[in-house]
């Protein structure tokens, strides 16, 4: 079962909405630049990063349920944390829990911003608490993502699974 608007995910406008949500969150709250990436560029950016984190945010909008996932290198997560909190580089490094919390909040904001764009006018939504974990390996490029972007020249991949379907990027 889906809400009246979410089935329209499989359009170029819907894919652009995901990139737009990432850009809005990154620029407003993290003062970061976001550029869309093709698969090859993403692979280049990803190749130098070995430690990855993945956050998953379950959501419900009307009758539709799904999960939004964000994968990013730990290096990017730590840079975003510094931007978000205004941490002075001379201060001690944030704990792993703080980094996980930051990645969860980033994913939460991307999901909420995307749903606000996509949701029907009279439909609010609920987000469950994000689950963040260390990824065993870099994101699988065989799984088609909703968006691949470079955030300050570091890779970020967002996937959205709606029930048993996955949002594919425009042009695929």
């Amino acid at each position: 079962m889906c809400s009246t608007k979410l089935p329209n995910l499989f359009t170029s406008e819907a894919a652009a909405a995901v990139v737009g949500a990432i850009a809005l969150v990154a620029e407003r709250s993290f003062f970061a630049d976001v550029q869309p990436c093709d698969e090859r560029h993403f692979d280049e950016l990803a190749s130098g990063n070995t430690a990855w984190l993945v956050a998953t945010v379950p959501f419900r909008e009307g009758d539709a349920t799904g999960v939004l996932s964000c994968s990013l290198p730990e290096d990017l997560a730590r840079k975003l944390l510094d931007a978000f909190t205004g941490r002075d580089p001379r201060e001690p490094q944030p704990s792993g829990d703080a980094v996980f919390d930051l990645v969860g909040e980033l994913s939460n904001m991307i999901c909420g911003t995307w749903l606000t764009t996509m949701a029907t006018r009279d439909q609010s939504f609920t987000l469950s608490r994000p689950a963040v974990e260390i990824a065993a390996r870099r994101p699988d490029t065989n799984v088609r993502p909703a968006a691949r972007v470079a955030v300050n020249d570091l890779p970020l991949l967002v996937s959205i699974a709606l029930d048993d379907v996955v949002l594919a990027p425009a042009g695929h």
């Binding site: 809005l24 969150v25 407003r28 709250s29 944390l81 978000f84 909190t85 205004g86 703080a98 919390d101 930051l102 969860g104 909040e105 939460n108 904001m109 999901c111 909420g112 911003t113 749903l115 606000t116 949701a119 006018r121 009279d122 439909q123 609010s124 939504f125 609920t126 987000l127 469950s128 608490r129």
Partner: protein
């Protein structure tokens, strides 16, 4: 003035605290809760002037918290602000029914939060 921040993200609470420090609000004390149930416990024991709450939180959501505050009718002067990723019209309308003074949508810039804080503080009667 005593401000209570209710958000399950410690990072978001840290950001809001940092912005509060940067505002021109003098003599403020900041309290924190990670969900609505914790916030209610604080409200029961300490006088709070300004409540800043997220919506989606475990145990008790921000909307459930605001409903409970309205139902108990013990804090009529408490100024209420929602800070949420949910910018839908229906959620905003729901907030308006719960006597919410401002609805700030995430993501926000620190400047916008400062503006909201200053505006909300003007409504506070200490």
């Amino acid at each position: 003035m005593r401000i209570l921040i209710v958000d399950d993200s410690s990072m978001m609470r840290a950001l809001i605290k940092r912005v509060i420090k940067l505002t021109e609000l003098t003599g403020t004390e900041v309290l924190e809760a990670s969900n609505g149930a914790e916030a209610l416990q604080i409200l029961e024991t300490q006088e709070v002037n300004l409540l800043l709450t997220d919506v989606n939180m475990p145990e008790m959501s921000g909307v459930e918290l605001l409903r409970e505050i309205t139902r108990r009718d013990r804090w009529p002067k408490l100024v209420r602000v929602i800070i949420s990723t949910d910018g839908s019209v229906s959620r905003r309308e729901e907030a308006a029914d719960l006597d919410v003074r401002c609805y700030l949508e995430k993501p926000f810039s620190p400047e916008v939060l400062r503006h909201v804080l200053n505006e909300a503080a003007e409504s506070v009667h200490v």
